[in-house]
Amino acid sequence: MNFILDYYNYWIVVFLMMSGFYIVISANNLVKKIVGLNIFQTSVFMLYISMGKVSGGSAPIVAEGITQYSNPLPHVLILTAIVVGVATTAVGLSLVVRIKRAYGTVEENEFENKDDAI
């Protein structure tokens, strides 16, 4: 039982990561692929934050009467990673828009054999 309590967080994170991965490699639509990429990314964030948690700890903002704080370092790394993540998502989506304009479709199997029209 203790074993499960120690690791369930990581296992669910792996499950989410694999769901995102499955969407990325099996989806035919590019927008859905980007959603899958975001799901994958969020699960990585969750892995980092899980590692930073100290049980019985509190949020790393100094307040009276609190002795145990969680680790602030993963929080900093992930905070900036989220903003960079949305930036890359935006670039990816604008590529999707350009593909739609060039080929008239965003389904992978419909444009993969066409000539380079961009």
């Binding site: 509190s58 949020a59 903002i61 307040a63």
Partner: protein, 88 residues
């Protein structure tokens, strides 16, 4: 008092789960939006209640952000949904 707060948190969690199941399998697309919206407002209440339950209610800012983003997301869904309403 903590017992009451815990009961409230659990009740809100149950409501969130029901709204989520509505958003997952809805008869019409509008029902789905309704489920998502309800999920959002209940999340706001959940964060507020859990903050008091855990004894650090300083983090109500996050609840405010949720309320705000939930509304904007709702407007965005309606706006872009009207654009692409004819199903291809």
């Amino acid at each position: 008092m903590t017992g009451i707060l815990a009961a409230t948190c659990v009740a809100i969690l149950v409501v969130m789960a029901m709204a989520l199941s509505r958003a997952i399998s809805a008869p019409t697309v509008y029902d789905r939006i309704l489920g998502v919206n309800m999920f959002g407002t209940k999340t706001v209440l959940f964060i507020a209640a859990v903050g008091f339950f855990m004894g650090r209610p300083d983090f109500l800012d996050i609840a405010i952000v949720y309320a705000l983003i939930n509304f904007i997301g709702m407007v965005a869904v309606l706006r872009f949904f009207e654009y692409s309403a004819p199903v291809e």
